[in-house]
């Protein structure tokens, strides 16, 4: 069989023009699919930035909460009850909300405000400048130096501003693992200050962050919280819930899905069409092989092999091109949200295999129907 396959390869490589068109077509399709899906995964990862950055193992929230950005405040007694659940090592409140910042030049800028438990500062960022204890000073805020930092006028230690008509002062400059998706700068302060100064609702507690005594305790905690009428999710579960929200309940997921499908269809049509042309051009040759005595199964193997070879080449080049562009994007645009994960590699691979099998199938149907009698006709 291997001799027949190298014959297939020689026939394929012999037609340079079609060979390049095929590889380029599939490269292009893979490139588009990779770009679309990695943008999507990047966006989703960034939308979960708060879950990742704050880093709690278990999050307690109102059952209707879908994402960390849109919390529903809970009454304070929930915290006391959660603390009394067996298996809970400790539990702290978290404020996660928005504030309107008035800069020194008089401009307004929205910001995400994270209020950390006063006693533990659980979920705190890494400080690049300033001391952790400075957060307890009057009106102190830490600002995250990320892509949105400049929107606050690139404040320094000691810079003052107003937030929701209260005075604020920068006491530290922090860095976090994942930047926010939403284009807002992030400020950290204590839970006390955040809940006193910022909200206008009766309840103020956005989330309760729970440290279970052991991983085995999580299930029990979840049941107890559910009995209370609230929901406890592990960080992974919360991330998934957040992902689902952006995938299925926003226009973003659908649009990117549609773009991915379009690039798939474009790739399929370029590759399918060119491969079919290749087969048509070589119909006589395949007819001659059939007349000489090649079995149908061997012809099928040859066609499959040819389409697999171009597909894998296209896949390789497409992935290279997409990762090159993404690397370039990340280097030039700090906020650029795109990640290549095993998931989107696998997705692109599956799509390429579909393209390859469909193109081969079209060609094979044609080849199996040729009458070797054609070789006797002039």
């Amino acid at each position: 069989m291997s001799g027949v396959l190298s014959l297939a390869l020689k026939l394929l490589l012999g037609d340079r023009g079609k060979f390049y068109t095929l590889v380029i077509g599939i490269t292009f399709a893979v490139f588009l699919m990779m770009l679309m899906t990695s943008m999507f995964f990047g966006i989703i990862q960034h939308s979960a930035a708060n879950i990742i950055n704050i880093g709690a193992e278990v999050w307690v929230m109102d059952p209707n909460v879908q994402t960390p950005q849109n919390s529903i405040p809970m009454p304070n007694y929930v915290l006391d009850v959660v603390r009394s659940i067996p298996g809970v090592d400790y539990a702290v409140p978290l404020y996660l909300g928005g504030g309107l910042v008035r800069l020194e030049n008089g401009n307004y800028q929205g910001a995400t405000v994270v209020g950390l438990d006063d006693a533990t500062l659980f979920g705190r960022p890494t400080l690049a400048e300033g001391r952790l204890s400075d957060i307890y000073r009057n009106n102190a805020f830490f600002v995250v130096r990320d892509a949105n930092y400049a929107k606050l006028g690139s404040p320094r230690l000691g810079t003052t501003f107003e937030i929701n008509d209260h005075r604020g002062v920068i006491a530290g400059i922090a860095s976090v693992a994942v930047g926010s998706l939403f284009g807002l700068p992030t400020l950290y302060t204590t839970y006390e200050r955040a809940t006193q100064d910022l909200p206008s609702t009766r309840y103020v507690m956005s989330f309760i962050l729970v440290q279970p005594k052991s991983p085995a305790a999580v299930a029990g905690i979840q049941r107890a919280v559910q009995a209370l009428g609230y929901r406890a999710l592990t960080a992974a579960q919360f991330t998934t819930r957040n992902d689902r929200f952006y995938e299925f309940q926003t226009a973003m997921g659908m649009n990117i899905l549609i773009m991915t499908l379009i690039s798939f269809v474009v790739g399929l049509s370029i590759a399918g069409e060119t491969f079919y042309m290749f087969v048509l051009d070589n119909l006589e040759r395949f007819g001659a092989l059939k007349a000489i005595g090649a079995r149908s199964s061997e012809l099928v193997a040859m066609i499959f092999y040819q389409s697999l070879v171009v597909s894998f080449l296209g896949f390789g080049f497409g992935v290279l091109l997409a990762s090159g562009l993404i690397a370039f994007g990340k280097w030039r645009i700090p906020n650029y949200a795109a990640v290549i994960t095993y998931q989107n590699l696998a997705m692109a691979l599956v799509m390429v295999l579909i393209i390859s099998v469909v193109s081969a199938y079209i060609g094979i149907r044609r080849i199996l129907r040729i009458d070797p009698f054609v070789v006797f006709r002039s």
């Binding site: 001799g3 012999g14 037609d15 040759r285 005595g293």
Partner: protein
């Protein structure tokens, strides 16, 4: 007998516009024979050649090659029969333009699962037999018509088939080249284990025939006549 054709009938299309390309054709070919099938255009020569080489299924009658009723074989067995028993020289050669000459010649061996290296070695030997060793690495389109014809012959004989089938081998060659090639095939390839069947219009090459079958309108019109 190496090959027996018994009351073969082949038609194309459906009544009432059915054309009979072969009507009740019977004959036999012996070892070491070079049998010619001649007749006017449309008389059914190519159709007959296709039926006896297991490429076109007849509507009626049997074809027996080396004791095997070939039209009772399965599709794969029929392909194997063509691969192992027959060698073809098609009228338009049907060489692979993207392969080199030597690779073209090696194709039947590769289909028989001979390793490439071994197949190419054998192909080179056969290219020497047909006098084209220096063209081994050129693609066929760079060769003259007569040279391409010799490549086609090399490909047909490389796997040492028992029956060699040639359709209009001289149709696109000038008279002298045609004669030389057919003479070459008879001298160098025909032997006690083989038979060669040639379809032709070309009376300049009749001198090489062992026997000639005349066809007209799908029938054999005169009993096979022996030549020399």
């Amino acid at each position: 007998m190496i090959l027996t054709v018994d009351r073969v009938t082949k038609w194309f299309g459906e009544e009432p516009s059915r054309t009979y390309a072969l009507r009740d054709v019977s004959f036999a070919v012996d070892h070491e024979e070079m049998l010619y099938i001649v007749g006017p255009s449309g008389s059914g020569k190519t159709t007959l050649l296709s039926v006896i080489s297991g490429i076109l299924r007849p509507n009626d009658g049997t074809v027996t090659v080396e004791g095997k009723d070939i039209w009772n074989l399965s599709v794969d067995a029929l392909a194997d029969f063509r691969l192992h028993t027959l060698g073809f020289v098609f009228q338009d050669y049907h060489l692979f333009p993207r392969l080199t000459t030597i690779e073209n010649v090696a194709v039947p061996l590769v289909l028989r699962h001979v390793r490439w290296r071994e197949a190419l070695r054998k192909a080179r030997e056969v290219l020497e037999v047909v006098g084209l060793p220096e063209k081994a690495d050129l693609p066929p389109p760079r060769l003259s018509g007569g040279e391409q014809q010799r490549v086609a012959i090399a490909r047909a004989i490389v796997a040492e088939p028992d029956v060699l089938v040639l359709d209009e081998p001289t149709a696109s060659l000038d008279g002298d080249t045609g004669k030389r090639i057919v003479g070459f095939v008879k001298d160098r390839i025909l032997n006690a284990h083989r038979a060669i069947i040639v379809v032709t219009h070309d009376d300049r090459i009749y001198e090489y025939a062992s026997r000639i079958i005349h066809m007209e309108d799908g029938r054999i019109v005169a009993p096979a006549e022996a030549v020399a």
